[in-house]
C-alpha cells in the first residue's frame, strides 16, 4: 500500500514550502518531493529599465533573512555589468561584511533548530548564546555596511565610505573578544546535535545525497558563472507527480543537467576538506563554518587600509555584457545576473541558494521513516522568504476570493 504524508507548510524555516512524501507500509519514504508554494518574487522585473544603482537597493529587499548576500550579489553583478573594478579596500570591506553576516545567519538557524536538538535545561543557554553572537557580528555589519539588515553603504563601485582607523580597531577588538564565546557556541551546538541525534535514534546516514556540490568560494564569491553548464526546467517537467509539478512555484536550476547540493556543507567539503554527508554532517559543517567565517572576517578587517579609497568612479552607461554576482550566502550560492545598456538595466535574474537545493531536498528524505522528513529539510536551512504569497481579493469589499497557496 502506498500512502502519502504531506507537510504544508514545512515549519521552522524561512518562507513556506510543502513536503510531499510517499511512504510504504512501514512509513518509510519511497518518494520525497519538496517544492516552494510561494509564487512571486518580482524584484527582478521591478529593476528593469531603471538606473543600475537601483538594483542593489531594491534587490537587497529580496530577503530580510540574508539581505547581505543579496546586496553583495546585486552590487557585484552591476559592478561587472558596468565594467567596474572595485578598489581593494572595498573588496575587503565587503568580505568582512559577508563573513560577519554568514555567522549571524548560521546562529539564526541554530535558533530555528534548537527545539529539535537542544535539551530543555540548555535551551536558555543556547538562545542567549545565539543572541550574543548575533549582536556582535551584526555590529560589524552595521559599522561597515550601514545597517545590519538592508545595508545602505554597499554601493555600486565599492562601498559608500571606508571605515576609520578607530572603527577598524574597535571592530577587531570586538571580534577578538567574541572568539571564546563563538568557540563555546559551536561546541554547544555540535554536542547537542550529537547527543540528541543519538537519543532520538536518528540514522547516521539520514539525508545523505550524492549530488554534485555547488560552491564557488570558501567565504565570499566570484564574478563568473558557467552559463553553458547551467539550465533550468519548469517544475512540471521535473516532478513525477503532475499535481506537485503544477503547484511547485520555483523553476528547477540544474548544473550539467543535474540538481546540486549547495550550502555550508558543500563549501566545507569543497574548500576545507570536510568529511561527512547527511543531516548530522550538515549541522556540524554549518557550525564549523562559523569559525571559518570568523577567521575570514578578522583577516579582512586586519587587511583593510582605512586611508584607501573604497569607491571607484565609473561610467553608468553599461557594457551590454552580462555581469555576474555569485556570492556564497549562508544557505549556499546566490547568483545574481544583470545586463546594463544605455544606463538602464535591461536584464536581471537571481537564483537564490534554496532554489538550487529544492530538487535535492525532497529525494534526501527517501529511504527513512517519514518522521525524519522535517529534520532532513531543516538541515538545509531552506529559506523562501524571497517569494510572496498571492491571493485574490474582491476590489469592493476586500474579501478574499481565492487563497489556495498556503494555509497556516
Amino acid at each position: 500500500m502506498k500512502d502519502r504524508v504531506v507537510i504544508s507548510p514545512t515549519t521552522r524555516q524561512e518562507g513556506h514550502a510543502e513536503l510531499v512524501m510517499e511512504v510504504d507500509d512501514e512509513g518509510i519514504v519511497t518518494k520525497g518531493m519538496y517544492f516552494s508554494i510561494t509564487p512571486v518574487r518580482g524584484l527582478e522585473k521591478m529593476v528593469l529599465s531603471k538606473a543600475p544603482e537601483t538594483a542593489p537597493v531594491l534587490c537587497q529587499r529580496i530577503c530580510g533573512v540574508c539581505p547581505i548576500p543579496h546586496t553583495l550579489a546585486s552590487a557585484e553583478a552591476i559592478d561587472q555589468a558596468l565594467g567596474i573594478e572595485i578598489p581593494k579596500a572595498a573588496r575587503l570591506l565587503r568580505e568582512a561584511t559577508l563573513a560577519a553576516h554568514n555567522i549571524n545567519s548560521a546562529a539564526i538557524h541554530h535558533f530555528l533548530v534548537a527545539p529539535d536538538f537542544v535539551p530543555e535545561e540548555l535551551f536558555a543557554t543556547a538562545v542567549d548564546s545565539v543572541s550574543n553572537i548575533r549582536k556582535n557580528v551584526q555590529y560589524v555589519v552595521d559599522m561597515i555596511a550601514g545597517e545590519g539588515i538592508h545595508p545602505s553603504d554597499v554601493r555600486v563601485g565599492g562601498m559608500a565610505r571606508n571605515i576609520t582607523p578607530f572603527a577598524k580597531e574597535r571592530l577587531i577588538e570586538r571580534m577578538t573578544a567574541l572568539k571564546s564565546d563563538l568557540e563555546a557556541h559551536i561546541e554547544l551546538i555540535k554536542n547537542c546535535v550529537a547527543e540528541s541525534a543519538e537519543k532520538m535514534g536518528m540514522p547516521e546516514d539520514l539525508g545523505v545525497v550524492n549530488q554534485p556540490l555547488l560552491a564557488v568560494h570558501p567565504t565570499y564569491g566570484v564574478n563568473e558563472f558557467d552559463m553553458d553548464a547551467f539550465s533550468e526546467v519548469l517544475p512540471e517537467a521535473w516532478y513525477d507527480d503532475p499535481e506537485v509539478g503544477k503547484r511547485g512555484c520555483s523553476v528547477i536550476p540544474l548544473i550539467n543537467g543535474t540538481n546540486v547540493e549547495t550550502g555550508p556543507r558543500a563549501r566545507m567539503e569543497k574548500y576545507q576538506g570536510f568529511k561527512g554527508k547527511g543531516v548530522i554532517a550538515q549541522h556540524v559543517a554549518r557550525a564549523d563554518e562559523m569559525m571559518k567565517n570568523y577567521e575570514a572576517c578578522l583577516e579582512a578587517l586586519d587587511a583593510i587600509d582605512p586611508a584607501a579609497s573604497a569607491r571607484a568612479d565609473y561610467d553608468p552607461r553599461g557594457t551590454g555584457e552580462l555581469g555576474f554576482g555569485i556570492i556564497e550566502g549562508p544557505r549556499g550560492t546566490n547568483a545574481h545576473m544583470a545586463k546594463v545598456e544605455d544606463g538602464k538595466i535591461k536584464f536581471y535574474s537571481a537564483i537564490v541558494p534554496t532554489t538550487w537545493n529544492i530538487p535535492t531536498m525532497g529525494p534526501a528524505t527517501e529511504g527513512f521513516h517519514h518522521e525524519f522528513g522535517p529534520h532532513v529539510i531543516r538541515a538545509y536551512d531552506p529559506c523562501l522568504s524571497c517569494a510572496t504569497h498571492v491571493m485574490v481579493v474582491d476590489d469592493e469589499d476586500k474579501s478574499i476570493l481565492k487563497n489556495e497557496m498556503v494555509r497556516i
Partner: protein, 283 residues
Amino acid sequence: MPLGTYKEALSARSTDKKILDVSQDGGIVSALLCYALDEGIIEGAVVAGTPDDDWRPIPTVVTSADEVIAAAGTKYSMSPTLSALKEATRQYGLEKIGVVATPCQTQGLRKAQAYPLTRFVVNKIKLMIGIYCMENFPMASLDTFATAKLGFDSLTDATKMDIGKGKFWLTKDGEDSGLAIKETHGYEQAGCNICMDYVAEWADVSTGSVGSPDGWSTVLTRTDDGESVFKAAVDAGLIETKPMDEVKPGLPLLEKLAKGKKDKNGKERERRAKLGLPLPVEY
C-alpha cells in the same frame, strides 16, 4: 517662558587662548567639546566645519581637540549637520557622540529620539549643544550681502563674519563693514520665519553671544547631562563664569530676542495657517 526650560544661566568664557583665538564669542562650544572628548564623555562630535575656508559649512565628524578647534566659529549658512550623524555612528565607529545643532536640528533630534525610526543612531548622542539662532541664510544670500550690498569682489575675501549690534558684519583687510539686519530680511531661508525657537530649547546645553559682553557667551544648562558636563568643565578650569546679573546687557536682552522671535514668527504662522498652508508642529 521665552528661554524654555533651563537649570542655570551664566555668562561664560573659555580659558584656553587657543580656543579664544578662533572662537566666535566665548568659545563655549569648543571648550565643552574638547573637555567632553578628553574626558571620554564623547568619542567624537558632529559639527559644521568649513574645510575650504569659503564660508560654506560642511557637516564634519571631529574626534580630537585639534579638529574641534579647526571647525570653531559660527557659520551663517545652513549646514545639514545631522547628515553626518549616520557616518559618525557607522564607519567612524563612535558609540558616544556630541552634536552641535541649531534649534531646528535639536528639535529634529529629539523627535528622532522619541520615535523608533532610527536604529543605533540617535541613542548614541550623549551631548547636544544648541546654538542660539534667529535665522539662517543660504550661501547665495551671503554672496549677495558681500558683493551686491557691501561691495566686496567676493565673499571669500571676508576674513570674519559676525552678527551683532543690529548688523551683519564682514571683515576684510582688518576693516569691518556692517549691513543693517533690516537689509538682510527676505534673504533668510523661508522656514526660519515660522520657527519659534531662538535658544535651542531642546538641547542639553545652549549657548550664544546674546546677553553677555563681547568675548563672552551666555550659557543655559538644560538637562542633567548638559549641566554635569558644563559644571565639570568649569571645575576643571576650562571655562570661567560670571553670574548673569553681573553682566551687561544680561538675560533681559536674550529674553527679549527670544520672545521677539516667537511673537513675530507666531504671527507668520497664523498668516500661513489662514492661507491653508501646512505648518510643522511646534512643541
